[in-house]
Symmetry: C2
Subunit: 223 residues, 2 copies
Amino acid sequence: MDPAVSDATVGRLPAYLRAAIDLGTQGVTSVSSDRLAEEAGAHPATLRRDLASLDITGTRGVGYDIKYLVSQISLVLGLNQQWPVVIVGAGNLGKALANYGGFAERGFPVAAMIDVSPELVGSTISGIPVVPTDELPRLVEEEDILVGIITTPADVAQEAADMLVEHGIRSILNFTTELLDVPPTVTCRSVDIATELQILSFYRQRGRAAQTGTGVPLGSEHG
Amino acid sequence: MDPAVSDATVGRLPAYLRAAIDLGTQGVTSVSSDRLAEEAGAHPATLRRDLASLDITGTRGVGYDIKYLVSQISLVLGLNQQWPVVIVGAGNLGKALANYGGFAERGFPVAAMIDVSPELVGSTISGIPVVPTDELPRLVEEEDILVGIITTPADVAQEAADMLVEHGIRSILNFTTELLDVPPTVTCRSVDIATELQILSFYRQRGRAAQTGTGVPLGSEHG
DNA sequence: CAGTGTGAATTTCTTCACAGCG
DNA sequence: CGCTGTGAAGAAATTCACACTG
């Protein structure tokens, strides 16, 4: 459709979606931009513009139909299908994510965890098998996995990323501190908890209170 | 100093800091904006402007002194002291964070975990005591805790936040899907993993490859 | 008449390009 | 001479404000 949807818009879509789902669950069938923006923590005009940029329309004088909203935003985000993921690194964080369970329910079932440790390989963590590195090609092939989550120690994160890329993974969510180098065909996002704490620290000190949200692009390409 | 440092700038500071520390560890003592920007994944001009806005200066013809950079950025971020944190919710994610260990080393030691479950209370997780809710006032008082990390189930996250706020916590890092309502005196950031995966999904589908970074403010106040 | 959709104004952020300093 | 610091240009994002429609 529209050739360009802005990064800022994309960053807000999950919040709109969640707000819409919430309202739907409460039995609401139609919502104004004022209300939905309030729920999602955005400005009403911004919300209207965002939706319009995706050709998601409302009804003048009425608002947006909740079911239509949910289905359209889901469609745009590609959530009308399951995207199995593989977690690389069965350490604490990897295990926590595997245990977390909330993934499958939101469309990202964990197909397997990859680890190098011989003690872990062969075991299962809340039903998810831990497999050795060389199983990756098979997984990608047979289970159509396009998303990898890296929870290894930072010093092997790049290595893990290279391996994922080599075997055809298209998206990487990186929980290490390491900034990853990936080819431009691969989408990569980093979530570093210490970074978040440092940012919080700044605002606390300065007394500025910014109710803020999750990751949004921080800049464009590397080069 | 300068009255206003932009949110975008603040979001990049942790990356600059990490890049500077990395280079320092490698024995580099001075760095140009080109080099540092490269390492941090930013544009050189943006980096220079960011640093200038914090009164962090370099030497013309030479570059920035690494030690000075590290100390000044740390100062701005408030990292010249330890900020003990409390983790609310000793479930999988809470445990993972507690086990993670990387916090203390980056200035955020975990003083305690809070949980309601009688089986957990009284135990320790990698040396960190799990205490009941009513210990919070004492912790805040005696250990000067200003930061809380919420890793509870989403449906009690707001409750947890209210409790933290009531007892004087000033910053909250929220790992649940729930958008928290907090008074303007409290700084709050949310990291929702499903959100990150959804965003990745969008970019993968659209074939756009955005090498992106961690959380940056998504909007200003709620009202 | 309530509330969308959008031109236009505004603000914010980024990048260019270069004067000027060490 | 190389690189910072910054005015000025440019791009992007946000917000206003209102015509218009169901």
